[in-house]
Subunit: 335 residues, 2 copies
DNA sequence: CGGACTTTCTGCATCGTTGTAAATATTTCA
DNA sequence: TGAAATATTTACAACGATGCAGAAAGTCCG
């Protein structure tokens, strides 16, 4: 049915291995005339190499896997797009899978079997548990992305959560906010992104001589727009003096903006808001979302470089890289 | 290095085939005692099946590919998430790839070689050209998704663009809009989603006894938030009498909302807006985005069912399914 | 003219898994 | 008890591509 190398070999009257040599452009292994004859047959029969067979034989397919918690968060979409572009520069291809939200096996995508399908795997660890990741034992290189504490034996590219949160909160204070909320904060698991950002939020207030409100941490069941919206609406009804909100992610910030509006308050006149991630859409909200930009391009470039190194087989100790972050001031905070 | 079936066989003192029989749970092919012995060895050695080898051997991996134009559009993220959930019901796994926006070969993801990696492929055809898709010649089942005219020999699940646009535009008129714009419209390629939605927009006006403005079609270089925002801002400066805008997608509608705001006008008092797609975020914009809901779940279920049929080898003529759409009225249109 | 090279090409074994058919062990029943 | 039937287990050959060692064929030089 499908055309194999054998068909091409037969059609051009050479051996299997010669076809392989032509296809892979091995230098000086096949005469010019033969090469042309083979290429003609390839063209004529419409032969294309079987990546599955190739991988079984020599272990590489040129495909890198990216495993994200869920497909439908803009953050991961943007991450995937950037990574795909960066990896394309070295001729690699990106394939994205989802780890969570699947019916039965939450971690099916993390199984050794699935990972072994790729030349390397980028694992977005948001929401994954340390132990789940620690179990991973594979010969395929794995690079971790994201803001959780994770086993040190993996390469890991992340950002400075505490510093970013400090920056965000400091900005709110500088622009006059005095009654601060962190939405999506909490401290379960000192290692979590949430806890680190909460620490930054607290420290920024101490540094400015403010005492964080005891009820300042608004925990969310999920870091989701709808959750955040409802929680903020209800909270503002109880404590209307709130005038500055740090949302732990932009996605949450979108919900916060809606919630503030629901409560009949204005942004930024009554309540100022800062998010975290610099999602593309934030710029086009009304008003534009002030946020923390975690140097996405930097992170993506580092991650891709690590991938290249590991695939090339370089045996250096695990790298742990931390990206610089900076503030992008827009309309949800005052001038 | 890696543990193979052979290792398990040796460790439990049985043949290779017996291990295979145990792993695949072939009924009545292996004695209880032996089964337990093998399973023990599997557990102890941490054996996991090599999907690459399995695929080479019997052609199936349980993985379905979804090819989207780009990763960073929320529409595709939501689509992927829904599909993943639906496919999980039959034990299949979804892997997402990007067709466009890659450096060299725009269509690398569409190559036979890559497609042959999956049990079946869902191809989101937005932005793809008829001819590119028509070239596809493969034994892997392909199901098309999306709103373009495409070769009839493929299964295709789409929605009624013209009817949806008619519904959206009719709603604007019913709520009092008289000077209508379609943002992202156009008529290049009668087959395109854009052209179909533009027809619906025109027809709804004729049906209501209105004459579409000759300058009513605002074409965009890309169906992007930023493009739409700038175009709308400039257009409203020229023709401030515009009081109703149909945005061809929600993504465009987000840009329209920002553009209207930039122009110093209010939504919905001065300008009413309707989008198309019912993206999750639309509900949480301020005001909430009125939009057309294309019955995503219906589409996803049909697509998954088609996949199942085709993988099972059912040889029925290509199916062409059209999803019903309905209006979701929210804050960007008046009461 | 013959050995030492080079160039070009080939056969074989292999990656890890599974279908087939046949071999061996076990049970059943006359 | 022995033949027939059933239950387990096995060897072998694929799937398609490629690394390796080496075979032909051609080239060079003393």
């Amino acid at each position: 049915m499908t055309i194999t190398m054998r068909d091409v070999a037969r059609a051009s009257g050479v051996s299997l291995m010669t076809v392989s040599n032509v296809i892979n452009g091995r230098p000086g292994a096949v005469g010019t005339e033969t090469r042309l004859r083979v290429l003609e047959a390839v063209e004529r029969l419409g032969y294309e190499v079987n990546l599955t067979a190739r991988r079984l034989r020599n272990g590489l397919t040129g495909t890198v896997g990216l495993i994200v918690p869920r497909f439908d968060h803009p953050y991961f979409g943007e991450l995937a797009a950037r990574l795909a572009t960066e990896l394309a520069k070295t001729g690699r291809h990106l394939s994205v899978e989802q780890s969570g939200a699947s019916a039965e096996g939450e971690l099916a995508a993390l199984s050794h079997a699935r990972i072994a399908t790729y030349d390397a795997v980028l694992l977005s660890v948001v929401g994954l548990h340390y132990d789940d990741v620690d179990k991973l034992q594979t010969s395929v290189p794995i690079v971790l992305l994201g803001e959780q504490g994770m086993p040190r034996r993996f390469d890991h590219v992340q950002l400075d959560n505490e510093a970013g949160a400090h920056l965000a909160t400091g900005h709110l204070i500088e622009r006059g906010a005095r009654h601060l909320l962190i939405v999506g904060g909490g401290d379960e698991g000192r290692q979590s992104m949430t806890a680190a950002r909460t620490r930054g939020w607290e420290r920024a207030q101490s540094d400015a001589g403010l005492t964080p409100r005891p009820d300042g941490v608004l925990e969310l069941a999920e870091l989701e727009v709808a959750c955040a919206r409802i929680a903020v609406r209800e909270r503002l009804a109880q404590t209307p003096e709130i005038d500055g909100i740090f949302a732990v992610t932009d996605q949450v910030a979108f919900g916060v903006m809606a919630g503030v509006h629901d409560a009949g308050l204005r942004v930024p006149e009554d309540v100022q808001i800062v998010g975290f991630d610099n999602l593309a859409l934030g710029e086009h909200m009304t008003p534009g979302l002030t946020t923390i930009d975690p140097s996405h391009d930097w992170m993506v470039q580092r991650a891709a470089a690590l991938i290249d190194q590991r695939i090339a087989g370089q045996d250096v100790p695990p790298q742990h890289l931390i990206s610089p972050s900076m503030l992008v001031a827009r309309g949800t905070t005052r001038e």
